[in-house]
């Protein structure tokens, strides 16, 4: 916590110095001015390319559906309403998938973070039997995998196909996160703290719970954020493992299915498919485009909402990873 504040202060200081230095050197050569203009322009354009699609998607879900259908909503929303979002409540499958995705995000992240913290702590304990061997045993799994088919057959053999636990259990041990926690404990938490606690007779579990866990909050927040985003975005496991359990599809999988219904959803319904959309939705939502947009927006919104608050954790995450190489 303090180290983070320190880092922020240092960064701000460095930035100020950087400013000063540059201002001093600023020579108003015409070449410099041209370079600056081009530079600003290129970055502005790229930034717009990055955010405009989100904006476009959003205004098309809240504008008048008839105008949207005609393709007239391109830059400014018109006839703002939120009915499309309310209508989504009638899409039964979607509601279930939303619940599944939230449940796996919360449970999966919780278990992964606790396990990473605990294992990260254990591998710093020098007197563990076979410590370096077992640590390597965990870490080496980052660099190989058997391939998707053996993985699938293994999950089937374990009875984890068409089961909610397939989302949670395989993700509990995350070697990369364990490395991050281990590095953090070794570098940021003084060993004397643990030593004095164990001299006072504290057990390992107690040391973990009262010293390590509270003090490693910054790194745990970082891996929690990455873990949560990963769970929210996960698609492959749902696609491959839940083939005969549509109730367990994640939100991303559901969105993928909706996007791939070639015609609009109403046509799909009249063809007699059971996509779970009630008749009233069909009558009111004349085109599937808006529904697809709205579902996509609902899937994006949590990430857009969380992102600004968590940005520093994201950036911290990649930096710690980089130090490890």
């Amino acid at each position: 916590m303090t180290s983070m504040a320190n880092a922020a202060r240092l960064e701000a200081k460095a930035e100020r110095e950087y400013e000063k230095r540059h201002n001093k050197m600023m020579m108003k050569k015409p070449g410099d001015i041209v370079f600056n203009i081009i530079n600003y322009a290129v970055f502005t354009i790229f930034t717009i390319i990055c955010i405009f699609p989100f904006y476009y998607l959003f205004i098309n879900t809240i504008s008048d559906n008839e105008l949207v259908r005609k393709g007239l909503i391109n830059f400014v929303p018109q006839g703002i309403h939120f009915e499309n979002y309310i209508r989504l409540l009638q899409v039964n499958d979607l509601f279930g998938s939303f619940g599944i995705t939230i449940a796996r995000t919360i449970l999966g992240t919780l278990f992964m973070v606790l396990a990473s913290a605990f294992v990260g702590f254990l591998v710093t304990q020098k007197d563990m039997w076979g410590r370096s061997f077992w640590y390597r045993f965990l870490v080496i799994t980052m660099y190989f995998n058997a391939g998707i088919i053996p993985w699938y057959l293994n999950m089937a053999m374990l009875g984890l196909t068409n089961s909610f636990w397939a989302y949670i259990i395989p993700g509990i041990v995350a070697p990369y996160n364990i490395i991050l926690v281990k590095t953090y404990i070794e570098s940021a938490i003084p060993g004397e703290l643990q030593e004095s606690a164990s001299l006072d007779g504290a057990s390992h579990l107690k040391i973990f719970w009262t010293i390590i866990l509270p003090l490693s909050k910054p790194i745990l927040a970082t891996i929690a954020i990455f873990g949560a985003v990963g769970h929210w975005n996960s698609f492959q496991d749902s696609l491959i493992l839940m083939q005969s359990a549509p109730k367990l599809y994640t939100l991303q999988h559901r969105l993928y299915i909706y996007l791939n219904t070639t015609s609009n959803l109403s046509a799909l319904m009249s063809a007699g498919s059971t996509s779970g959309i009630s008749k009233s939705v069909l009558d009111s939502a004349l085109n599937g485009k808006v529904i697809k947009y709205t579902i996509a927006m609902v899937t994006i919104i949590p990430i857009l909402l969380v992102y600004p608050f968590m940005q520093r954790y994201f950036e911290k995450g990649i930096m710690i990873g980089a130090v490890k190489g």
Binding site: N36, T47, C50, V123, D127, M128, W134, A146, W151
Partner: protein, 478 residues
Amino acid sequence: MKKEKVAQIAYYPYRIISVALLVILFFPGLNVARVSGLINRSTSLLTSGFSYGNLIANFGRAFKKGWVLESTMRLLNLSSLAICIGIIACAVGACLSLGNRKCKFTGNLFSTVGAVISACAMGGIWSAYFQIAATTKPSKVEPMFQNFFYIMLILLVAMAVISIAVLVLTGRPGKEEKFEMETRFKLFLMFLPFILLTFVFCYLPLWGWRYAFFDYKSGDTLSMANFAGFKWFGQLVRNKSTTRDIVNVMKNTLAMSGLGIATSWMPMAFAIFLSEIKNPRFRRFVQTFTTIPNFISWVLVFAIAFCIFSTDGFISSMMINLGVWSEGKNFLMSGSHTWLKMLLWGLWKGLGWSAIIYIAGISGIDQQLYEAATVDGAGRFQKMWHVTVPGLMPTFYVLLLMAVAGILSNGMDQYLVFENSSNTAQITVLDLYVYKMGIVKGAIPLSTVVGMLKSVISVTLLYVANTISKVLRGETIV
């Protein structure tokens, strides 16, 4: 003294067998209690023991018609439960065997009782099998005897014998002795559950490579009868259409990875030019918004692509409104420039994010270098080229080597979501090909072969990259 030494040695098989037995509990494929085809394929021994409802889920009709007696299933259920409890007792015993004499003795009592109970309960499963085999309707009930039964029985009997032996050899602990265990073993026991999880989810799939050597269709069992040797490996070169597919897929894979590698300098350039912008607010703004696309999934990227490039998306409606086109075009359905499009989507998603590591790298470069360069009369671009770029090169090399090592693994999400009938020939990369062949079409052995070769080549490449890095820079990358 000698007795204790013998006991020490006997503890090794004791521990190994108890861990093996514990793992077996979780595997539906190794469920000795699955004596009838009506029992769900995904029921493990643990489930058979603890969930009677799950065990008899499909037996409603069989009970009603009298094909199977309910008492038979009860027997099966109770026997499984006894085996489970016995095996858990053995595992507890094995854990305690790491402690002092008191721990060991108690653990031995546990495992002796547990192993004996389990071995006896195997008899219950045996008799349940014969009751089911005597059914009047074998075609519906499908009695089946798991050959694994014998292996399990041998393991349990061995466990019982060793337990009794070590019980005798260790001897009774003194009255005042307390339960104690060395710290190193205590820590290890805390670590053990995670080792088991890693083993089950990361190492055990390697055992699935054996499918590459069998004629296997989903639902079959593996036996010597359908052993195929290297037939599927040969198929890759002998079968014309498979070879053509593989060549095409490799072309796509290498092209897309190659384009990725060819543009891997772009995040560095992004960072360098961004740092030339003097307004910190603007820098922050750019950095924030260009990293967002990295955090949405490929499905959502496709949703974005859909709303911009489909028939009634942004581009088409703009063009129609401006009167340039008379009707919308669907860019996503066209098969042209697929590689380039995939590259651009990758850049859209990843460029801003990949630049962060270089931005941090730039702030780590010694400022005196810039000052010295200024004194020497270096201009802006000269400083960028002669100070900043060399400062970032180590990071660049590491990432480049990792990219080369991962040349076969482009992942499948991106290509799966963007795939359609008109671009499938250009977009199918190795990962997607394996998925489609194995999971969608069910050609499990052939796709296992391809996946296996890919894994081996990838690990080799990583090893080579690591060695190169060690030789050239004196540092490893993994």
